[in-house]
């Protein structure tokens, strides 16, 4: 409790967060890169860059391009691999920071092996499954787009770890509620959404896609209303905790996600613009609670009032 009586803490999948503002996977490295600009302990926690079994090199440039109120990226899941994360990156994160590892692989078995390796790692609070990998057996669709593939994936990861398991859902689906129910049914402790929207930008002079990979993921303020809609729909369908992601750059943005049913949020692209943004959002949430006479962000979760 602060002097003003505001309790910023929230519970997410059994993990107590000092406040609901976290950093999104792929936008905060392995945490320490942001230390020149903010104290990670002031945040609810971080979702580290997605890990594969072996180190991964990613795509050639161009990897990113700015678009109206957003950006596309096709980094290609470049990462140091799970072993280097455990031996070098995780121990370098200051004590007291809530760290979720993010997991990504080509096949269900690979995902499960990374989860197994992470299970019980000292200082690791939980695992987020990045379900946006193209699933070869489903004809290249994302795991998160294929109900059967998603069920197999969550079941295998659940069996591989006792850590809190969060599934990061793809927005590139017809029914987010159906995908959420599948994850809950297979034992997921929580859900995070949305991952980036599949998108394309074209250089008309060159008559070529801007990105080397042709298709990239759209993030930033442009996707925020889409993300809010999906969080709201999901919150109607499942009771397990939700972490909202998508274009959050102000406290008002974050509060909108809480009102739609998210327990906590992840800040992503906004950290590129100003790496101190997440801490400012935390402070803004406190100010909002004081102004509205609510005891803390937990009281705002799902408190959206509908007309009529």
């Amino acid at each position: 409790m602060t002097a003003a009586g505001i309790d910023l803490s929230v519970d997410f999948c059994g993990v107590r967060l000092a406040n609901p503002v976290m950093l999104a996977s792929g936008t905060c490295g392995y945490g320490t890169e942001l230390e020149p600009f903010l104290d990670l302990r002031e945040l609810g926690g971080i979702f580290a860059k997605s890990l594969t079994l072996a180190p991964r090199a990613g795509n050639p440039s161009p990897r990113i391009v700015e678009t109206p109120s957003g950006m596309l990226n096709a980094i290609g899941l470049e990462n140091v691999g799970v072993e280097a994360f455990l031996s070098e990156k995780l121990p370098a994160i200051p004590e007291g920071v809530v760290v979720f590892a993010s997991v990504f692989e080509q096949e269900v078995e690979g995902y499960a092996r990374v989860c197994e390796r992470l299970d019980g790692a000292p200082g690791l609070a939980g695992i987020e499954i990045n379900a946006s990998c193209p699933h070869v057996k489903a004809g290249g669709a994302e795991f998160g787009q294929d109900p059967g593939g998603l069920a197999d994936l969550v079941r295998a990861c659940r069996a591989a770890t006792r850590l809190p398991l969060v599934v990061k859902l793809s927005p590139n689906v017809t029914s987010i509620a159906e995908m959420g129910r599948i994850c809950r049914g297979e034992g997921a402790d929580g859900l995070s959404l949305i991952n980036s929207l599949q998108a394309l930008e074209v250089d008309v002079e060159a008559r070529r896609p801007v990105l080397y990979n042709t298709i990239g993921g759209l993030t930033g303020p442009a996707i925020r209303p889409v993300a809010l809609r999906m969080v709201w729909q999901l919150a109607q369908a499942v009771e397990i905790p939700i972490c909202g992601i998508g274009g959050i750059s102000t406290a008002a943005d974050a509060i909108a996600f809480l009102l739609c049913g998210a327990r906590c949020v992840q800040v992503g692209t906004a950290s590129y613009r100003d790496p101190g943004t997440a801490v400012e959002i935390r402070d803004g949430i406190r100010a909002y609670c004081e102004r509205h006479g609510v005891p803390g962000p937990a009281a705002l979760v799902g408190a959206l009032e509908r007309p009529g």
Binding site: E66, P68, G70, P275
Partner: protein, 246 residues
């Protein structure tokens, strides 16, 4: 490294001067991420733009550039007293050569070389090239330095009519330090290698953050991908995969 709001002292089509008392100082060839409108609600542009520091310090940090897109257009239109977001200093920058060196600058790449030229030993050769005399940024500032200055322009309006690399004749074991268009740097690297000189080049690439978290600015080196923002922008020319550079 700081992320702060500077106060615009002056701005124009090829120049931005910023007062930023918190600026911790920098090395030649380092850069900053500049945000024309640092308000958290601003969306145009959404992302800051990487820009080499031309010269200066906390009282007046100076950038020289050419308007090439939306980001540089907005920077050029800033007015005195307005706020500009500055994150930096970033990257490795150039090491000032102790022995004989030739600096080769082309187009806006010239801006990355000014402080290096200022700190280099007297008599260092500095070769600057551009399409025309008008395109040679900060000509007068370079002319005031005790260096051996030569020019090349495509249209012959100043100095040698042709490529700036036509002027490059490095001694064996000397340094060639270059910043400019990729073909210019590649040619400089080839000439240096053929002459037994060592060559380092300063690259640019699209980047969202400038400090190693977006991984947008990858370039291909002999040991795999490296990032322009944290491993560069200055790279050993012999280690770059020139065919894969953007």
């Amino acid at each position: 490294m700081i992320c702060a709001r500077g106060r615009v002292l002056s701005a124009g089509p090829d120049l931005l001067r910023v007062e930023l008392p918190e600026w911790p100082g920098h090395r030649p060839g380092q850069f900053a991420m500049l945000l024309p409108d640092p308000d958290v609600r601003a969306r145009d542009p959404l992302l800051p733009r990487p820009m080499a520091v031309f010269r200066g310090g906390a009282d007046a940090l100076e950038f020289r550039f050419k308007v090439v897109g939306r980001g540089t257009a907005l920077l050029s239109e800033l007015r005195a007293g307005e706020a500009v977001g500055v994150l930096g200093p970033l990257g490795n920058g150039f090491s000032v050569p102790e022995g004989p060196a030739t600096l080769v600058g082309g187009g806006t790449g010239i801006a990355s070389l000014y402080e290096l030229a200022r700190e280099a030993p007297a008599g260092t050769r500095v070769l600057l090239g551009g399409r025309s005399r008008r395109e040679l940024l900060a000509l007068e500032a370079f002319r005031a330095l005790p260096v051996e200055l030569e020019f090349a322009t495509d249209d012959g309006s100043l100095g040698h009519a042709g490529l700036v690399t036509d002027l490059l004749k490095p001694e064996p074991g000397s340094w060639v330090l270059a910043c400019g268009p990729t073909p210019m740097m590649r040619r400089a690297a080839e000439i240096a290698a053929a002459a037994g000189a060592r060559c380092r080049v300063s690259l640019e690439n699209t980047m969202a953050c400038g400090f190693g978290i977006c991984l947008g600015c990858a370039v291909s080196c002999d040991t795999g991908f490296r990032y322009v923002c944290t491993h560069g922008p200055v790279f050993d020319a012999a280690r770059l995969d020139w065919d894969a550079l953007p």
